[in-house]
């Protein structure tokens, strides 16, 4: 097994970011939206030989030339599911240190291969099947809606995009914003798991409390519960877990959201998190109120 490098994330408005697949429908639109949110989008990469700049962003034929010309260190990969593995490999070879892959539907055996390559390169991978990550007020790498983002004291970590939009929206409405928002994504094998974030969250100065947005399937919530103690994370953690009443044996939209027997169930996650001192809430509103209380507001 390749040893996992610790999760590292230093992203701000000066971090040079490139967009792979920038000439696609999603690539064009979101490159501009990320830039509007403050992100330094310095380059795009497109396989099209005749690619022209996208709204002033220079487009290169491959990652190596984009990195050589712009010094990009992070990449948002807006490519099809079957292209994620080759696109990640290209980015790693060009020296990219942070990869965000929003694409849904990456085969899980591909994800295993991607993770091993990312780990071997000592890089950081967020995704797949994620709306991305953001440091509100600094930069956004992905799709996170602006109405749900505001600078603040709460770190959000989420498997589900839309559920985190809703939770983020209500945090902002309640006058609480985010110190960081990391969509780990809904796939079973992924670049960054909840537990990988625990040591980073423990040290992250601007984070005063944590909202974990989990869902049934897999064992990430259980692993995170264990990591709370081993990482010395002593900030308040509040969790919501979707799928309490979902039927077993069926993938609930996310490839990772599949329970069988007692594995991956809501109750198993609730119990593990509660044992670790996490406040597991039944509704989004309860979670927002619990976070406000934990910060003395």
């Amino acid at each position: 097994m390749i040893p996992r490098p610790p999760f590292a994330l230093s992203v701000d408005r000066h971090t040079p970011v490139l967009v792979q697949g920038i000439t696609g429908r999603a690539g064009q639109r979101h490159a501009c939206m990320m830039r509007d949110a403050g992100t330094s989008i310095v380059a795009g990469v497109s396989a099209r030989a005749d690619a022209r700049p996208v709204d002033g962003i220079p487009v290169f034929v491959d990652c190596a030339s984009a990195v050589a010309a712009t010094g990009a260190v992070a990449s948002v990969l807006l490519v099809g599911a079957a292209q994620v593995l080759p696109a990640v490999s290209e980015a790693l070879a060009a020296g990219i240190r942070l990869l965000v892959t929003p694409t849904e539907g990456v085969p899980v055996h591909d994800a295993v291969e991607i993770r091993n390559r990312v780990d071997a390169a000592g890089a950081t991978w967020i995704g797949a099947s994620t709306p991305g990550m953001a440091i509100p007020g600094e930069a956004k790498l992905g799709f996170l809606p602006d109405v749900s983002l505001a600078p603040g004291p709460i770190a959000m970590a989420s498997k589900s995009g839309t559920l985190s939009y809703e939770a983020g929206f209500r945090l902002v409405q309640a006058g609480l914003g985010q110190s960081a928002w990391i969509g780990v994504g809904g796939d079973p094998v992924k670049g960054t798991r909840f537990a990988d974030l625990a040591p980073w969250l423990a040290r992250h100065g601007r984070t005063e409390a944590i909202l974990l947005v989990g869902e049934i399937g897999g064992n990430e919530e259980e692993d995170f519960a264990q990591a709370i103690a081993t990482s010395g994370l002593d900030k308040p953690v509040v969790a919501i877990i979707a799928g309490r009443t979902a039927p077993g044996g069926v993938s609930m939209g996310h490839a990772g959201a599949l329970t069988w027997g007692s594995f991956g169930t809501w109750e198993a996650k609730r119990a593990a998190l509660a044992d670790a001192g996490v406040n597991v809430c039944a509704t989004i509103d309860e979670a927002v109120q619990a976070l406000a209380r934990s910060l003395g507001r």
Partner: protein
């Protein structure tokens, strides 16, 4: 996708995994394959474990008896799960039962090999020291080697069988883009039998995301769409739809897996009855209402459905565009005439309110207010016959 035992065995056989002779008997009594000679066992096909304890595995002396047992088993749900059909299988006597599984360990991004001299039981309740564990990267040779290492730590009588089975299961795991293959029990046969081992039961979970490169699984999903309705819908229509309560009153047009699941949980906690889970993936509609037309068509099967709740928190979707597609879809499925409550948030909201308001749909920005509106619709006397097309 959680494969039924019968289909799992057919798929594994192609990789040289030996299984007892058997056939499928559908809920309608239709036979797939050849009925073996008795004595037989009849095994209910459900997408859940623990069916033996629930009475889902029964002996039958011959084919006539087996068909009768299958009729009884398919007539009622087993431990809450609908029985899609039965596998009728040759009964095997005199075998030793061991355990072998390959599971994708998502945390290590490796394959976990689990083996035990004690098969046939619920492995989660087995004593930890009765289990042998190994890990391997995802390639067939490495997985087979890991099973070989595990086998060396089992009793001498089962080593050879487990190592041999492991080689075939490893090829199947990689070849089928599997997330789990479990043989419990693996029958180790006495010396003198033509085969050294048989997979008496088989659990196989494959990756829906890899269907595009799995032609055999694709054909199965196409052919047995009623057995795998969720996978078939995802394959054909690009969205996830699960009927969570056939008697539910609230049809849900929602996007995003987590938010859709959470909405169902919260509705139920309030004593309401959602009909379905849906991740329609509004971001993938690309200007075509067809997926919405399909979804609204499926919802007509919900005979108790009395209101449609739309909940879209848009990240990449433009709500104005979505609203126009929804109206087009409702026009295409005019028979779906229940009242509509829409909760929308995100870019294009004002445009969506204009488009949907013109059709008399209630639009809310706040989810709690939308749920109140749903409650109001359910409480109001309804002149329409629930879910029925006018």
């Amino acid at each position: 996708m959680f494969l039924f035992e019968h289909d799992a065995k057919s798929l594994l056989q192609a990789f040289g995994v030996a299984v007892p002779l058997g056939c499928w008997v559908g809920a309608d009594g239709a036979l797939e394959g050849v009925m073996p000679a008795g004595p037989l066992i009849v095994k209910a096909q459900v997408a859940a474990g623990g069916r033996g304890k629930a009475g889902g595995i029964r002996p039958a002396a011959d084919a006539v008896a087996a068909l009768e047992v299958a009729r009884v088993l398919t007539a009622a749900p087993l431990a809450g799960h609908a029985v899609a059909g039965c596998r009728v299988e040759q009964a095997i006597a005199g075998a030793t039962e061991v355990y072998l599984s390959l599971t994708l360990d998502a945390s290590r991004a490796q394959v976990q090999v689990l083996a035990s001299d004690h098969g046939g039981v619920d492995i989660e309740s087995a004593a930890p020291d009765a289990l042998v564990r190994e890990w391997a990267p995802i390639n067939a040779a490495a997985i087979a080697a890991a099973v070989g290492r595990a086998a060396q730590r089992l009793s001498p009588a089962s080593r050879e069988a487990v190592a041999d089975a492991g080689e075939r299961l490893a090829a199947a795991f990689v070849g089928l883009d599997a997330q789990m293959v479990e043989i419990n029990p693996l029958f180790v046969l006495p010396a003198g039998e033509p085969a050294r081992w048989l997979a008496a039961d088989a659990k196989l979970i494959t990756d829906d995301n890899a269907l595009y490169r799995q032609p055999v699984l694709c054909r199965l999903v196409e052919r047995a769409a009623t057995r795998y309705p969720e996978a078939a819908r995802k394959w054909r229509h690009g969205c996830d739809y699960v009927v969570v309560d056939p008697t539910g009153e609230i049809a849900l047009l929602t996007t995003g897996a987590g938010l859709s699941m959470m909405l169902i949980d919260e509705l139920r906690a309030q004593g309401l009855h959602p009909y379905n889970f849906l991740d329609v993936r509004t971001g993938g509609l690309r200007g075509d209402p067809q997926r919405l037309v399909d979804v609204l068509g499926w919802m007509r099967d919900g005979t108790q459905v009395r209101v449609l709740l739309v909940n879209i928190f848009a990240g990449i979707t433009h709500l104005g565009e979505f609203a126009r597609l929804l109206v087009q879809a409702m026009d295409t499925v005019p028979a779906f005439s229940v009242p509509v409550v829409a909760r929308l948030a995100g870019p294009g909201f004002d445009e969506a309110v204009e488009v949907l308001g013109a059709r008399g749909f209630k639009v809310e920005t706040d989810l709690a207010r939308a749920i109140d509106a749903v409650r109001h619709e359910l409480a109001s006397p309804d002149v329409r016959v629930p879910g029925v097309l006018q």
